[in-house]
């Protein structure tokens, strides 16, 4: 065998092995160290103790994270999908398309901390919404919007163009085609994009540090209240030193489990509905 061939072969196998090992290690480590902390009480009680997280659970943080994520998904995915629809099926002007694409790309390039900064100055301070779920939700929504838009646009582009044109050729209008052909055919990919975007929002800490996530709060009752969030909670536990390591591992466990679950869901969902029109 030639030396290049042998080198490449070892390189490929070693790298894949390393990647697999890293992934298994990350999940294995967190699940192994966190498993002892996980209990019904841990999941359903509020944190307590003299130092944050020394005793008690993370229930308010779980609910808080769900609120942040849901707000971000609602505010981010609808405009994202509308923009993708516009880009693929409505806009015929290349300049406008290029302009929109540039703006979306720029936003996807903005670091999440800068988005947090924006939400803090503009929403929390200038609009006087205060630190609340909605302020953070907007920052997170802006963060995941390009992510969902790009995926949706890709999915729409992959539809067989003749299928869409067949509908126009029958004299059906755009909204009827979008509603009855395009959205149903892309449902799987769109939903999985939204789930993954939600994951991304759930795990992000930087945009919510100044805008809505706090060290301690009870379960939120409205969007105008600040709340706890899992990633923020984990960060604060770590920032205060080694007093609450068990709680930290437990929190990480819950987050990793949520990530694993939603990724699984997204993959299965996308694959099941993809088969419908791709295999023919």
């Amino acid at each position: 065998m030639h030396w290049q061939a042998r080198l490449t072969k070892y390189w490929a196998y070693l790298s894949m092995g390393l990647v697999t090992a890293i992934i298994l290690f990350l999940f294995g480590y967190v699940f192994y160290r966190g498993a002892d902390t996980i209990s019904w009480e841990f999941l359903t009680q509020a944190p307590s103790g003299a130092v944050l997280g020394e005793e008690g659970g993370i229930w308010p943080a779980i609910v808080g994270s769900i609120c942040f994520t849901a707000t971000a998904i609602v505010l981010g995915s609808i405009p994202a999908i509308a923009t993708a629809l516009y880009m693929v099926f409505y806009c015929k002007n290349r300049r406008i398309k290029g302009l929109i694409r540039m703006v979306v790309q720029c936003i996807s390039g903005i670091p999440s901390i800068v988005l947090g900064l924006f939400a803090y100055s503009f929403l929390v301070r200038d609009l006087a919404w205060g630190r609340c779920i909605l302020s953070s939700g907007v920052a997170l929504a802006i963060m995941i919007l390009p992510f969902i838009e790009v995926r949706a646009e890709k999915t729409f582009h992959e539809l067989p163009p003749q299928m869409v044109q067949s509908s126009y050729a029958l004299g059906c209008s755009r909204w009827y085609t979008v509603w009855n052909i395009i959205l149903p055919a892309c449902k799987g990919e769109l939903v999985s994009g939204i789930i993954l975007g939600g994951c991304y929002a759930m795990g992000a800490t930087a945009p919510m540090i100044f805008t809505g996530a706090v060290a301690y709060a009870s379960v939120p009752k409205s969007l105008m209240e600040p709340a706890m969030a899992l990633p923020m909670h984990l960060y604060l536990l770590l920032a205060q030193g080694t007093t609450s390591m068990d709680t930290a591992y437990g929190t990480a466990f819950v987050m990793m489990a949520l990530i694993l679950l939603s990724n699984l869901l997204a993959t299965i969902y996308a694959r099941r509905s993809q088969k419908k029109w791709k295999v023919s």
Binding site: K92, R94, L170, G171, S173, K276
Partner: protein, 249 residues
């Protein structure tokens, strides 16, 4: 014979590059008009002009007049034009639904809600396309499970559900095997009793078998337009003759 559609100096371009120039021809009712020519000569583009679908593509522009029963299609609602002039594509493109839903898709759009009427229409149009006997028992089956030839006949039947006056077909048989093609050819000759058909094909033998009129396009220009008998026996132009003899593939 009075024509149903008149093309008057029609031109089309993509991003300023001309694809069609100065095409004038007529489509006669209850006949099959075949548009032939080498690949890239603008056959499909011409078809898309006829039902206004070309305007949906970015960068495309159309000039000249196209009259449908004397009415300029530019001045009509685009949806109206497309309803009256149906189009079936080269590759079978059923919607990702059941056969039944594929057939009722456009009818529902036009507000037909009565179940009996829907059933009657589905049956009638599927029969016209010669597909009814094959699928009568499994109308709820996904349209993607049909064979290529069946899918294409379903698409034709689907195009018929809106009662178009003209049916445009863009190389409907090029993705199919010989047997499916001959089934479709037979069906088209029956359909012309009720509809007017324009078919784009690169298969000269097919054009010879089914068409009443032939238009030969070359390099975006209409070289010759004449009754089928005449064009196949004594073509006037040198290019037509060369093409029919198989010089340009």
């Amino acid at each position: 014979m009075e024509s149903i559609m008149t093309l008057d100096r029609v031109g089309a371009s993509y991003d300023g590059k001309p694809a069609l120039e100065d095409i004038s021809m007529e489509i006669f009712p209850h006949s099959i008009t075949a548009i032939i020519g080498p690949s890239g000569c603008g056959k499909s583009t011409l078809l898309r002009c006829m039902n206004g679908l070309l305007k949906e593509e970015s960068g495309a522009a159309v000039s000249g007049n196209i009259l449908l029963k004397g009415q300029d299609i530019v001045k009509m609602e685009p949806e109206e034009v497309r309803r009256r002039v149906g189009l079936v594509f080269q590759t079978p493109s059923p919607f990702p639904f059941s056969i039944y839903k594929n057939m009722t898709y456009a009818l529902r759009y036009y507000g037909v809600k009565d179940k009996k009427e829907l059933d009657r229409q589905v049956k009638e149009k599927l029969q016209m396309a010669g597909l009814y006997d094959e699928v009568a028992q499994e109308l709820d089956k996904s349209a993607h499970k049909l064979s290529g030839g069946q899918q294409q006949r379903l698409c034709i039947a689907r195009a018929l559900t809106v009662e178009p006056e003209i049916l445009l077909l863009d190389e409907p048989c090029s993705a199919l095997d010989v047997k499916s093609s001959s089934v479709i050819e037979k069906m088209l000759t029956q359909l012309k009793e009720k509809y007017t058909i324009v078919i784009v094909t690169h298969n000269i033998a097919q054009a010879r078998r089914i068409s009443d009129h032939v238009a030969f396009l070359f390099g975006g220009k209409l070289i010759e337009f004449a009754p089928a008998k005449q064009i196949f026996s004594q073509p006037k132009e040198e290019e037509t003759k060369a093409f029919l003899e198989g010089i340009y593939g």
